[in-house]
């Protein structure tokens, strides 16, 4: 372990997980710094959940190792488990127990006892906004309330690393917003977060660094800006015009700052260096040619574009 390793909350090295001939994860390596939010972004089946299952000691790696706060999942899993709080993708609660009974039980499983347990349960109930419903059976709770309790359980022992596996799947926008805000607050309070999602916007909003996964491998890895640079810094402009004109297409291709123009059925796609500089020239040329532009859509490069660029598929496919 070198000096830099002291700043690492998670260090995954060459992780593999095979089920017979099925390779769920193949050679995944990444580091998560203490105090950062690190996201694993990828479509369903990319290997995100398998990866964090190995980080959470739920699955043993076929090959490779993970160190969490310096402890190996292979040689010291109990120390790893004490350092992490896991929020599973599916709600994992005892529905026939109350919110307080659930928190108390799970608190005991994290080693809390007596007055400390009671105090921490009270605090978490307040944090997740269920203090007034603490005696209610979980089976009577709404989906959003259950989600909050699902997260609250992972916070009971004040974990150094919080692992959330797609916590916003299938919930309403308001609950989703609450969860994202909670993650930010926890991170600001010093908790390291490992987050998996297939929503590009969530990864972009929350993460200090992102690893894009596909088919069990990390295909890109870095900050949002670093990832976007993979596809360059070009803007994509999509124009709709009232009449397709070969002449105007030719003149647009010749315009300074325009790198690529493709036209099909009245829709023209342009890759440009800077849309702010190029767009006035495009309108001027169209006016001179007697062509009217009926709509304009400008897109800066994003993770969706990166995934499309790297895999030839959309993230949500």
């Amino acid at each position: 372990m070198n000096e830099n390793d002291n700043h690492l909350a998670i260090q995954a090295q060459d992780l593999h997980k095979n089920y017979g001939d099925v390779y769920a994860v193949q050679g995944v390596s990444f580091d998560v710094q203490v105090g950062e939010v690190f996201s694993l972004l990828g479509p369903n089946g990319a290997g995100k959940t398998t990866t964090i299952s190995m980080v959470s000691c739920l699955l043993a790696p076929t090959q490779g190792d993970v160190r969490v706060m310096g402890h190996s999942v292979k040689s010291d899993p109990m120390a790893v488990k004490a350092a992490i709080g896991v929020v599973p993708q599916e709600i994992a609660l005892y529905e026939d127990l109350s919110a307080r009974e659930n928190l108390t039980f799970w608190g005991k499983m994290y080693g809390l006892r007596g007055g400390a347990l009671k105090q921490r349960v009270d605090e978490v109930l307040e944090v997740i906004g269920l203090d007034e419903r603490q005696k209610g059976r979980v089976s009577k709770f709404s989906g959003g309330m259950q989600r909050r309790l699902n997260i609250g359980i992972a916070l009971l022992h004040k974990p150094q690393v919080l692992i959330l596996d797609e916590p916003t799947v299938g919930i309403d926008p308001q609950s989703r917003r609450n969860i994202l805000d909670s993650v930010k607050e926890l991170n600001h309070a010093g908790t390291t977060v490992l987050y998996t999602t297939h929503y590009m916007e969530e990864a972009q909003e929350l993460s200090d660094r992102i690893a894009i996964m596909d088919h069990g491998k990390i295909i890109a890895y870095g900050t949002h800006e670093e990832l976007v640079k993979i596809v360059g810094e070009m803007d994509r402009i999509t124009l709709t015009i009232n009449a397709e004109s070969a002449k105007v297409i030719e003149r647009w291709q010749a315009t300074e700052g325009v790198e690529q123009v493709t036209a099909e059925d009245g829709t023209v796609e342009l890759l440009v260096d800077d849309s702010n500089l190029v767009l006035p020239h495009l309108f001027e040329t169209a006016t001179q040619a007697g062509v009217r532009i009926t709509s304009v859509d400008i897109q800066e490069p994003n993770l969706e574009t990166v995934f499309l660029h790297l895999t030839g598929r959309a993230l949500r496919d």
Partner: protein, 425 residues
Amino acid sequence: MKILDIALKDILRSLRNYFFLGFGLGVPILMGVIFYFAFGGLASEDGFEIAQVEVLIVNRDEPLAEYDGFSAGKILADFLQSEELAGLLAATEAASAADARAAVDNQEADVAVIIPADLSTAAFDPQGKAEVEIYHDPTLTIGPGIVTSIVTQFMDTLVGSKIAAGVAYDQLTAQGATVDAMVLQNVATQYGEWSATLAESQGASPLLDIRSPAGKKEEEGNMALEMVGGVMTGMMVFYAFYTGAASAMGILQEEQDGTLPRLLTTPTPPSAILGGKLVSVFALVIVQVLVLMAFSSLIFKTEWGAPGPLSMAIVGLVVLAASFGIFIMSWLRDSKQAGVVIGGVMTVLGMVGISSVFTANVPGAEGGITEILPLFVPQGWAMRAWRLAIEGSTAGDVLPPFGVMLVLAAAFFAIGVLRFKKRFV
């Protein structure tokens, strides 16, 4: 500590679960009650509370003029009608023994106490003998028992007084003293007062004769209760195995619900997680067995036999039912499969295992297939141990089935735990 936390959580969840309350406790009790009504036990027991016993007294005792009109029969009749016993007995005097017996036969009274004409005479005659007849409905147990106990106490005191007077007479005459009737009466009275301060004595008196109405026997009267006791035992064995399997199914259910994987992400040793769940399975079967036994004892007056054989039957049933449940569940993939197994396989095995309840009294059944077949399933061994216990067998008699149960339980437990450990740990 975490083992207990997990076990207590599971027990709490089970006690809130309609399946356990319904199938573990409700249905066995309901079955027992149905059989109880079917055999008429309830109708003849006047409900579950001890009601005031209707007693008819026929006092034919003739007072002894030479002893200042002393009448043991009158003392007994007055005692039975005293205020002290008013809470227990509603005693009135009847005109004749025939009237009193007829009233009992017609269920107009619970007990008739018929005091013979020579009771007082017998009390003072060293060779004298008299019988107080207690006539009652044989299907009643509590009321006649109370009256018998009271009359027995009285008769014990009377016999003691008689012996004391006899001894006093012999000693005084040996010393040349003159002994008249008043002296003997004083001796007898003093003995009676002394005796009253002693603890109640039990046991039959040579002067006491308890008789049932003609044509009925006490044993026949208790047959319904004995049968209900057998049925309750069968239900207990049958449903204890259900509870063992259903409780062990919780392991599969938690895996499906995601709470078991989540538990495995906490700093709780996997062995503690499995251990806690196993403890809860054992605890729930124990709770079920004890509740059903208590209910049956209280309501059906079931006699479970001597403590030693009974303890062996309880321990054997609990460990075998719980272990068998763990064993069965360890082979299944999910709770859907478990539902089919509990509903089908466990029912068939249970019916085979407890079939001796219904075939025990069939002529020629002893030693036949109906007795051997149940021993091919675990429930059959549990049933055998319980039957031996409630039939009053010794611990030595119960030992063979108990031993088989322990061996089976150990094997089921070891295989089940190994399979679950391989799967989750």
